[in-house]
């Protein structure tokens, strides 16, 4: 393949405007897969899942996407402030609209 010159590569997602929660789900899933899954997916090599499995012993699940007890407040606070070895994530990484979409994805519309 030849040289790839690109003007703009939209690595981030478009900042969301108020929209129906259902519309936020694909955005939330995409942000989750990019920023959260590398630590919180199922299977070995995912320290976030390992830590939550050790904490809860499987009840609830250590995999965030299998949880039914998460609240938007817990998600947003943890993302912005971090916990244990999980660092905080800044607005330049996950903006408020994207974070809200992640919260909707994890709490309402998986």
């Amino acid at each position: 393949m030849s040289s790839q010159s690109i003007g703009v590569l939209a690595l981030g997602l478009v900042m969301g405007s108020p929209a129906a929660a259902q519309d936020q789900v694909p955005i939330g899933r995409s942000v989750y897969e990019h920023y959260c899954s590398p630590c919180h997916a199922s299977g070995p090599g995912h320290p976030g899942t390992q830590a939550l499995d050790a904490l809860y012993n499987g009840d609830p699940s250590g995999v965030l996407e299998l949880r039914h007890d998460l609240t938007p407040e817990l998600i947003t606070t943890t993302v912005r402030q971090g916990r244990s070895v999980m660092p905080s994530f800044r607005k330049t990484e996950i903006d408020d609209a994207q974070l809200q979409a992640v919260a909707i994805y994890l709490t309402e519309h998986k």
Binding site: M1, G48, V85, F89
Partner: protein, 541 residues
């Protein structure tokens, strides 16, 4: 509100207004909640007076916006601290050297400018993470492999500027050594390009790094001479085949011939990164309860003596040392190199050999999932964060600091470092983080580094104080033996820079003369790399 030192609140508010004009209201952050996420989550001074504060954050999206931000800061003499992806965990993250600095967060500058898989290079902006670049290569089906650090959230630009490193072949895993040309905004607002980038219409920015005349690129790494807005990197072509293979040797001092052979193989280009470990080192990430006898051995003051470990290894039929090597290339060549390596190591009585894992490229999803060495096959991940995460056998920590001295690439030096640092831990009266089982890293391929982790806490101030005391003592002990750190968190950068003191700190005096000329108002990252601008040089510790 935190205000930069020597500045009135009125002037700071005026400057913030100008920043807003430059980057837009949404990208100048001053609220406490927003600034909270710029604290170093792995800080060893959390909530103590030494923890540096952030006065505001400005997040430009283009080099022109960076220029405008720098112009305002230069006019008002505001200290700036630039971060790229902001995930330099264990080395300070987004926390500045100089308290009340304004953070210039470059994460929004996330363009991949150019990738070429015939000439094997890329040019990227600061906000591009390793995950981003990898996803781009996969999506475009480009036949390249990225050399990765353990943390996929980092990015090529920021990681290389802090002299980060990876796990593949020699030219690539020294990330700054593998860079090729950069674009930098200077304190006067001018943009320069180095190497071939300085040639208008250049076709070789990503290929020939020297351009013409003095090379100034090094000033912008672990320094504070400008804000780097683009960098080129050489990339490894995607190989056909990867093999991870291991040699094990039975005795402590076998590490001497083992290292000699590793040096020979790597310096001839027959083998890439080798990880030297002892099977007796209890991993920091535990998958099962460790043997109590081994725990007791490791709990000896200073890490204990080699003889006791040799007896244990002999009793348990363990190797004393293993070296796990990476081989890349056509499978026939890789296997021939591995066969040749086995012949070389066979001179060590009792040497044992095993193949650990292999993969063919392009990688299948199954191969990626199966691999336990994803960083070695160019797949970014976060598995290293298991260090310090809660497990069935360990309580969670709040992050870590890395103590990383550079030592000679020989078995004799390794043995001496065990003794010297072991004694230092004895003197400190704390559990040793090193012992006769401790292996070095071979990241920079012509030197060893030890990478000892110290755990930090966001709730136990006394534990953090003990860590800082030990860390500074080890820096001092290392320097007395001709070893010093290659990289460290901001709060220890003066300590480490003080170690490099040849001829009454002539190097630092020189770089500070350059600093005063290039950045007369001292706006760029005061204290970064131990370099302080003349106006606040008294802040040096």
């Amino acid at each position: 509100m935190t205000i930069p030192k020597r500045m009135s609140s009125g002037d700071f508010n005026k400057a913030l207004e100008r920043f807003r004009v430059a980057v837009g209201d949404a990208w100048v952050l001053t609220a406490d909640d927003d600034l909270q996420s710029y604290r170093d989550p792995y800080s060893p001074v959390w909530d103590e007076p030494e923890e540096t504060k952030v006065s505001a954050v400005v997040a430009p999206a283009s080099v022109e916006q960076v220029q405008q931000v720098v112009a305002v800061a230069n006019e008002y003499k505001i200290p700036l601290y630039a971060v790229s992806t902001g995930k330099n965990l264990g080395y300070g993250t987004t926390s500045p050297n100089y308290s009340a600095s304004v953070i210039v967060d470059l994460k929004r500058m996330n363009r991949i400018i150019e990738v070429d898989d015939r000439r094997n290079f890329c040019i990227v902006e600061p906000g591009v993470s390793y995950f981003d670049l990898y996803n781009y290569l996969v999506e475009k089906q480009l036949r390249l492999m990225i050399d990765l650090p353990s943390n996929g959230m980092g990015g090529p630009l920021g990681n290389s500027l802090d002299h980060g490193n990876g796990y593949s072949a020699a030219p690539y895993r020294d990330h700054f050594g593998g860079h090729c040309g950069m674009e930098v905004v200077l304190a006067n607002g001018e943009v320069i390009r180095t190497g071939m980038g300085a040639l208008p219409g250049s076709k070789t920015w990503g290929e020939y790094k020297y351009g013409y005349g003095p090379s100034v690129d090094g000033l912008f790494a672990q320094g504070n001479f400008g804000i780097v807005t683009k960098m080129g990197f050489w990339l490894m072509p995607m190989p056909d085949f990867f093999l991870s293979a291991q040699v094990g040797v039975p005795r402590y001092r076998d590490v001497i011939p083992m290292v000699d052979e590793l040096n020979y193989l790597e310096d001839l280009g027959l083998m890439a990164y080798a990880r030297i470990q002892s099977p007796m080192e209890i991993p920091r990430v535990l998958s099962r309860a460790p043997d109590p006898e081994l725990v007791a051995l490791m709990a000896q003051p200073g890490g204990g003596e080699p003889d006791s470990y040799e007896s244990y290894a002999n009793k348990q039929n363990l190797d004393f040392w293993t070296a796990t090597m990476n081989f890349y290339g056509p499978e026939t060549t890789v296997r021939a190199n591995w066969e040749y390596a086995r012949k070389r190591f066979a001179r060590i009585d009792g040497a044992r050999f095993r193949e650990v894992e292999s993969a063919t490229f392009p990688l299948s999803a199954e191969a990626i999932q199966k691999s336990r060495q994803q960083v070695s096959i160019g797949v970014p991940n976060l598995s290293a964060f298991a260090l310090g995460a809660r497990s069935k056998f360990t309580e969670p920590t709040d992050g870590h600091l890395w103590f990383s001295p550079v030592i000679p690439r020989s078995g004799e030096a390794l043995i001496e470092a065990h003794r010297v640092f072991g004694e230092a831990f004895k003197e400190l009266g704390m559990p040793s983080r090193i012992g006769p089982y401790s292996g070095p890293r071979t990241w920079f391929y012509r030197a060893f580094m030890f990478v000892l982790d110290f755990q930090c806490s966001r709730s136990d101030t006394e534990a953090n104080q003990r860590v800082r005391k030990a860390f500074r003592y080890l820096i001092e002990v290392g320097a007395k033996h001709g070893w010093a750190e290659y990289r460290t968190a901001p709060m220890f950068q003066d300590d480490v820079a003080n170690s490099y003191s040849f001829n009454n700190h002539a190097l630092r005096r020189f770089t500070e003369r350059l600093k005063d000329a290039a950045d007369p108002n001292g706006i760029f990252s005061p204290g970064r790399g131990g370099i302080w601008p003349k106006s606040i040089r008294e802040a040096r510790q």
